[in-house]
Symmetry: C2
Subunit: 380 residues, 2 copies
């Protein structure tokens, strides 16, 4: 059903429509760098750059919000440099919304040596092995220096698979750190999102939701997925999490962005997504399309003078042929990565946009069913 | 002096102005893909792509004509593929003018094994060692398949240094091949340029001019420079060559495009330039500027929040800081190559544009003197 929008304040999340046959919703999240219409896919700009894609190109394909990684920026060029540049928006030349993760995921998955205390986390730089220590308060200071529109709390991310005890410990510690982050966070122009953990244990997810919501945040990340668990297990355990989170706050499924998972999660009431998949896949010479993945190395494209994806309106599909893209890919030309990244990002941005439109007209269920029965569903 | 322009036919070259204190001139060369205003710098798109730069980005910085390499395109994807795609313009998505070299330079400088006969040249692919044989007629067929606005004759390029006898032989053979190319070339929408050789031997250059002009072409390339000879030697031997070429035809100094050489050659009456220097330099993290080259790896830029080149109006200088570009360069991010390529190409395109404006207002001598006495003159 369509909902009337009142005047909005910073970080208000207004539900523009909710689906009657699923938990899908269309919303608007207000930031100091413009509104973000959800469901939304967020391109990942790890080191303050979406690899190979310029800011004007991102604008052209309709990116509303870009993600940057606190861990990487903390190491290089350093949060102080970004702060002194006037913040991330000015540093990277992007005037729409930005979200920074806390770096918790990278600390736990990338660092060779990581030591966890109740007080904080010790880790070593992947770049030069230098030792670092973050309390939740330190992490908030770093993210406030970076100055994104949305910051995430520092959480503890257990690997998958993990013992129930390990996950329970992570849930407990994440909740305590969430409260400390909330207390340490002072930037009025930056929203702070909590993060729900709990792995694939339903009761731990439930506990994490309860404890995180108790602290109270402008939005909620759902972490600990897309770490190797089976696709079905994720959706199964995600459903009650999404349902339990407050309706009036945006829900962000962290690190998930393959087309099928995104559409299924939207049906469960998730609003925001990010993933390196579209750009990473592009750099291997593979394109997304409504009929599945296309490996441009394939000889069948050598004399194929049609567009990459006939139904697509992105600059790559309207400007170039499969034969040309294959030529660039096989010759290892940089432009291949740029043009395929633009297309793959557009594919996900557009899929989220069309999902939103389906919710607005009350047709999300049909939209999802069409995807499920289409040729691309099993390929992602 | 300013000259009035009559109505122009395809491949007419109109002199818009000539300088009174040097041989510099401003002209307009008509092609089926728009007029080319000279002096002009031509970005190099070796494999039908200016490395890391999209067609819209090239348009934005004012590129009028792009060069593509016949040798590389002949090997991959093959001239037949480009032809079947509708020609180079459609293949690479570039609707302004294109010039293809003949591939002669690459055949003689890149191929491991090359055998020269009066009939043609035998060479092996740098990609897979496969054997190929080109007569001048074969080469014309290839370039007509590619379908650029300007094709170049197949010439013989001796290395530097070379014995006088070797160069004399190259001049003789190049002239004979020029006549065969001219006879074999039939595309009405494609201009064919002759090429003057002769190394640093004044009498051989004079002979080459005479024999090539005798055949008669829509324009003249000046080849065999920028192959390792000293800068002064090039200018010294270039002066009489440029002076001897027909005034009413464009003159193209092949493979030369460092700023100082370009401006000096313009003073000698040269109209067209190409060089991989701006993009290749960009990929090493170095930027061109009016004050010389800047190595962005340098730590002095880590907290430099000013533009790359304060006087520059290119998208890189108006959108990003030195600190950000240094960050991208040190992190080996693809975007560094793209943004620096855009800037470096703009630098040369703009330098040629300003040279043209100086000729139009009768101030080229002052413009050249200002460059010569400036901080960048010795750095290129």
């Amino acid at each position: 059903m369509l909902i009337e929008s009142p005047d909005m304040a910073l970080f208000d999340f207004t539900l523009d429509a909710t689906d009657t046959r699923s938990a899908a919703r269309a919303g608007t999240f207000e930031t100091a760098h413009g509104p973000v219409r959800t469901p939304v896919f967020m391109p990942v700009g790890t080191r303050a750059t979406v690899k190979g894609v310029t800011a004007p190109q991102l604008r052209e394909i309709g990116a509303q919000v870009v993600l940057a990684n606190t861990y990487h920026l903390f190491l290089r060029p350093g949060a102080d440099v970004v702060r002194d540049a006037g913040g991330l928006h000015r540093f990277m030349g992007w005037d729409r919304a930005i979200l920074t993760d806390s770096g918790g995921f990278q600390v736990f998955s990338l660092a060779d040596t990581v030591k966890l205390h109740d007080g904080g986390v010790e880790f070593r730089s992947i770049l030069d092995g230098s030792p670092h220590f973050w309390t939740p308060e330190d992490n908030m200071a770093v993210q406030q220096d970076l100055g994104a529109d949305v910051a995430m709390v520092l959480d503890v991310c257990p690997p998958y698979p993990a013992e129930e005890g390990t996950v329970a410990e992570a849930v407990r510690r994440s909740a305590e750190w969430a409260a400390r982050c909330r207390a340490a966070h002072t930037r009025a122009d930056q929203a702070l999102f909590g993060i729900v953990q709990g792995g694939v244990f339903a009761h731990l997810r439930a506990e994490s939701v309860e404890r995180t919501v108790e602290v109270g945040f402008a939005g909620y990340g759902i972490g600990g997925y897309s770490v190797g668990e089976p696709h079905e297990l994720m959706l199964e355990s995600l459903a009650p999490v999404a349902a339990a989170l407050p309706k009036e706050r945006p829900r962000y499924l962290m690190g998930v962005g393959n087309p099928t998972s995104m559409l299924e999660a939207i049906a469960l009431g998730v609003d925001m997504f990010d993933c390196v998949l579209p750009t990473r896949t592009a750099r291997t010479g593979t394109a997304f399309s409504s009929t599945g993945r296309m490996n441009l190395r394939n000889a069948q494209y050598a004399r194929d003078f049609g567009p990459l994806d006939p139904g697509c309106s992105c600059p790559t599909c309207t400007g170039y042929t499969r034969a040309y893209l294959r030529h660039l890919v096989t010759m290892k030309e940089m432009l291949a990565s740029t043009l395929l990244s633009v297309h793959n990002l557009h594919f996900l941005l557009d899929l989220a946009r069309r999902a939103r439109e389906s919710v607005l007209v009350g047709e999300y269920r049909a939209f999802l069913d069409a995807w499920r029965s289409g040729p691309g569903a099993d390929d992602y």
